[in-house]
């Protein structure tokens, strides 16, 4: 490439410098905004977070939702994707459609649909056992309806992440090898395929986690108060604190992604060494 392009690479700096400014300035300004005080620098916005009303409750709710969503999503998706690879190739297009359709339904529209369904409960099913299900799904302590929405929203992301992971693994050979060594079907999948998918699984889990941590639309319209909704209500009264939370959430995402990149790199080195 170097010989091909003898001209000084001014264009590169002409591209990267403004881009760098555009992406770094809001971060710097946010940090400054959150610590800038009338009399100098103060970290009150950060230290006051823990004692702010609702902070811990909403954070715990969000983390619970995130954990349940990740577990449910992976338990549903991973067996289906592996099965489609080794035994049921005819279902592959079906799976792809299932994992693509949520892309064309924006979260607001999905929420509208969910509300439509939830309204059937009191309207038509009052005297049937189904009504209890509707109540159970909407309980304020742990709204399962949000988990349903989040799993659907995360399906395309997780599918893409897992698909690229599975593509790098010869699933059929691994399973057959495990089977020939006498492993049962579940055992073959768990101990031969899943370890090879660690990077992809982490990736899918991270994307889902990021989605749930930041999700605002569905939760706010349905009237629950996970973390994002809490930030919104704080933003109306205490601007500095909401910016502080934004800075923190950006930092947390960074850390998570760096951890993930480190895990993925380790994986790649291993596979590079064996191949």
């Amino acid at each position: 490439m170097a010989q091909l392009n003898p001209r000084p690479r001014l264009w590169r700096w002409a591209v990267l410098l403004p881009a760098g400014l555009y992406f770094l300035v809001p971060m710097a300004a946010s940090v400054w905004f959150s610590i800038d005080d009338a009399d100098g620098i103060s970290f009150d916005a950060y230290t006051g977070l823990l004692s702010a009303p609702g902070f811990t409750d909403s954070l715990v709710l969000t983390l619970e939702l995130a954990a349940v969503t990740v577990v449910v999503l992976l338990l549903l998706l991973v067996p289906a994707m592996i099965a489609v690879r080794i035994g049921a190739p005819k279902l592959r297009p079906v799976l792809e459609v299932v994992c693509t359709l949520p892309l064309v339904v924006p979260p607001v529209a999905l929420t509208a649909g969910l509300i439509g369904v939830l309204r059937w409960g009191p309207d038509h099913l009052m005297d049937t056992p189904f009504f209890q299900t509707f109540v159970f799904v909407q309980q304020p302590e742990f709204p399962l309806v949000l988990v349903i929405a989040y799993v659907l929203m995360a399906l395309p992301l997780a599918h893409r992440a897992l698909d690229s992971g599975l593509r790098a693994v010869d699933v059929r050979t691994l399973v057959e090898a495990a089977r020939n060594c006498g492993a049962s079907w579940p055992r073959a999948v768990v101990s031969a395929i899943v370890p090879n998918l660690r990077g992809a699984l982490l990736n899918a889990a991270f994307l889902t986690l990021a989605l749930v941590l930041g999700e605002f639309t569905t939760a706010s319209i349905l009237g629950y108060q996970p973390f994002a909704v809490w930030i919104y209500s704080v933003g109306n009264s205490r601007g500095q604190m909401s910016v502080a939370v934004s800075v923190l959430s950006l930092l947390i995402t960074w850390v998570l992604l760096l951890l993930l990149a480190a895990a993925g790199r380790e994986r790649r080195h291993q596979t590079a060494a064996t191949s």
Binding site: A19, A29, A83, V84, V94, P106, P107, L258
Partner: protein, 322 residues
Amino acid sequence: MTTAPTPVPAPAAADPSGGPGAPGTATAPPAARPTARPTRRRPRGGAWLATVPLLAFFLVGFGLPAVAIVTGAFTVSSDAESGAGSFTTANLTDSVQGAYWTALVSSVKLSALTALIGTVLGVPIAQAVLTSRFRLLREAVLTASGVLANFGGLPLAFAFVATLGNAGELTKAFHLTDHGWSLYSFTGLAVTYLYFLVPLMVLTITPALEGLRLQWREAARNNRATTPQYWRHVALPILFPSLLGGFVLLFGSAFAAYATAAAMVGATVPLISRQIADALSGNVLVGQGNLALALSLDMIIVAVLVMAVYLPLQRRSARWLS
């Protein structure tokens, strides 16, 4: 790896000790094949069972809301004075009129514009980073793109309010308000959206740019093509499906975005997602409860139309960039 490829050892049957293989296969070599068959065939019979939970979940979790949207969009709201539950197209006609139509158009305009700018800006950034000599820069930018592409929603809105809002640091430092700047406008929203759309484009287009082979460039060079000619006649046609795919992805993200706009601009820029949320929280006339569902249907139709452009093209790019 340093040793020459060794010939495959003789089959287990030739080895009297049997090795790790099952004793049955070792003692009766001809029977090995028939016993191997069922283990291969069994998954084909039962593997579909593993997809059942996902499909069942999808049918209930996604199918029911979809049915609710379609049926709701075409029936009279339950809070209407008369004819609740009967068939009507009034919801849909209302949803493409007046303020709702303005909101839909403005949503589409905002998404198309930001997706276009994001595509145009994302490609040179990705190319600049990819061809850079500094590995660290490359890794840093790609990781940062991963973070920023997920940095939508409220935090993004607050970060921009802190930077360019009325009391934002840049606004105060450069007195931007005196120059007519306002974050709470179409332009302000577009500037904010690009903050996660451009990284998304960088992430999307990087694999495609990596797939451009050096030989193609050399071949173009040898035929005395200039760099612009190379891009115009070789690289861009190959990249076109990927670019369009990226555009569709960006459009979809911008179109579906709700939180950023809700926290930032309030009602100054009408957007369809906000109209739906308003309608869902009861901010509509009596008897128009199902309007939200009709608006949702509009939104889905737009998204489907945009996706429909992209899907056939995806296959074409796969042919070149595999």
